[in-house]
Amino acid sequence: MISIELIIKLTITGIMMGIIYALMATGITLIYSIMKIINWGMGEYFMIGSYIHYFVVTYIFGMPWYLAIFIAFIVNFIIGILVERYLLNDMFIKDVGKPFDYASIITIGLMFIFRNLFTVFAGTFIYTPPALISQNITIGNTIINGTKFVAAIITFIIYILFYVFIKKTWIGRALQATAQNRIGVQADGINPFKMDELAFGLGCALTGAVGAIVAPLFMVYPTVGGICTMKGFLIIVIAGAGSIHGVLIGGIILGLSETLGGLFINPSWTSIYGYIFLVLMLFVRPRGLFGEKLRKA
């Protein structure tokens, strides 16, 4: 029975999930726009964040879950910077053939290493961290899962902070400039290699943080990163890579299409609606909603 309340509830849920999905895609779009590569192992940083959440909450007694977000952010930032400095930086300074192929192969290799390291050391068990808050949230007369609500709020705050960072601060503007023209920024005293490191580290850190936030929702197991990679890439193709506000809209479209598609068509097909959107989008706008045409030097 489809009632107005149900539609409202699923719309709110869809928007909340969309915000969470959007932050999963933000890291991918940041790395893409600066370095022009796809990080296939993005979901693994998400997975590392989830494990950090579980570890902090369960083993270190008395630690609140919001500290896990900071720890996940910092740990992933460091991992990202190390990966960029010692593995990916070669693609700009050495003869590696096509830089995109090089980066794809390296990140796919890293993905398998991380995923199976956790499989070997943590096992294939599904861990469930405790919920972020125990009670549900009531808006009007619709009841919403409290954990989901809190996760969406925190994700949105991080997204806004990131947006302000990119648009208002000096470093953020330097990142934007690097995305536009790698050679031109060197004349303005910006080292594009430093910007690469920062962008890769920041992208991984954001993904790790969202992994830590949504650990109670998505559970904690070695292949949980697949969800993040899937949703993130889907949003990138729908919204167009390289646009930060695009991923928010793309994420909300994806979240709504999943919940409302599940309501109106068939709930067991939720994961396919995003892909239907993708194929439709490829017909109408092959570069995505907000994708810019790549300028060739």
Binding site: D90, L110, V120, I272
Partner: protein, 319 residues
């Protein structure tokens, strides 16, 4: 003329004859399980080589290589089950399905830039994976689909070995012809410089699309053989691991060289058997191997062998 001379070079011919003899005798020397490994080797050799045609020669980093194989296998299996046809008849419609799938994916993706192409082909791979799992009433879903064996009641590994071997030789010869023919020339021109090739009159999109469909057909043909050899199809054959093994074999062997991926596939399959006892840890080893190869020796085995050959056998320096 020089090509002809090389073919009738007696020294080279005797080496080739020895290798051929070894390949033919090999299945009689080893047990059933080893024959199974050899057949998988042959399967991955063909898959790697056809991915190499795309990624190494055409510059298309295709992430849906395993999908055309898997869909062809499913198409053939379903035709066998629902129309009770023998596999020998369903193999042709199944290859047509693989070709259509490649055409469909290529229609969207060929004109894109490399990253969009990878993402979108990967997206299609995931879509088809989900569709196979979801339509479990028809495809069996995660439980798997039992399909008839290709050779019916003949269950000897040796027979399958020769079936795979001769199909593989045919496919590799076709790919060799493609690479050394007009299409291959176009592909190499596009790989080296897309713009320059277009200026010289190479139809970049048409060439890429042709090779995309060709490799889809080859991959589909081997997917069908694989499905009817295994006897059971699961959505696992469209998983991440399959494309990872293909990418790994091509990278280890040497992307963009013809013989490299063939050796790479054999090496990886043997390594994977040696590391079987480690369980999931073998993927860590593979990942490290992939990164080390990419970072320190981009040309893979082929490049290393070439360097050794030039340095010690020909007495030449690097330059």
């Amino acid at each position: 003329m020089r090509e002809n001379n090389r073919l009738i070079n007696p020294k080279k011919n005797s080496v080739m004859a020895l290798i051929l003899l070894f390949i033919i005798i090999l299945p009689f020397l080893v047990g059933d399980y080893e024959i199974y490994i050899l057949i998988l080797c042959i399967y991955y050799m063909v898959q790697s080589e056809s991915w190499n045609l795309l990624a190494g020669y055409a510059g298309l980093f295709n992430m849906a290589q395993h999908t055309s194989a898997a869909l062809a296998a499913y198409a053939s299996g379903l035709l066998c089950i629902y129309f009770s046809l023998p596999p020998i008849l369903t193999i042709f419609p199944a290859i047509v399905v693989a070709g259509l799938v490649s055409w469909f994916i290529g229609q969207f993706t060929i004109k894109m830039e490399s990253y969009y192409l990878s993402l979108t082909t990967w997206g299609f791979a995931v879509i088809f994976h989900i569709l196979i799992v979801m339509n479990w009433q028809i495809t069996g879903g995660n439980l798997g689909l039992e399909v008839p064996y290709f050779l019916g009641s003949i269950r000897s590994g040796v027979a399958y070995y020769f079936l795979f071997l001769f199909s593989a030789i045919a496919m590799i010869l076709i790919m060799y012809k493609i690479v050394n023919g007009k299409l291959g020339l176009y592909l190499k021109a596009i790989r080296d410089d897309e713009l320059a090739a277009a200026v010289m009159g190479v139809d970049v999109f048409k060439t890429r699309k042709t090779i995309f469909i060709y490799t889809g057909l080859i991959s589909g043909f081997f997917g069908v053989l694989y499905g009817h050899y295994m006897g059971v199809l699961t959505p696992n054959i469209m998983g991440w691991e399959k494309i990872f093994i293909i990418i790994l074999s091509v990278t280890i062997g040497g992307k963009g060289s013809f013989l490299g991926p063939l050796f790479g596939a054999i090496l990886i399959k043997i390594l994977s058997e040696l590391l079987r006892w480690t369980g999931e840890a073998q993927w860590i080893v593979f990942g490290i191997l992939l990164i080390v190869t990419m970072k320190f020796s981009r040309g893979g085995i082929e490049m290393i062998l070439k360097k050794i050959y030039l340095k010690y056998l020909k007495g030449e320096d690097k330059k």
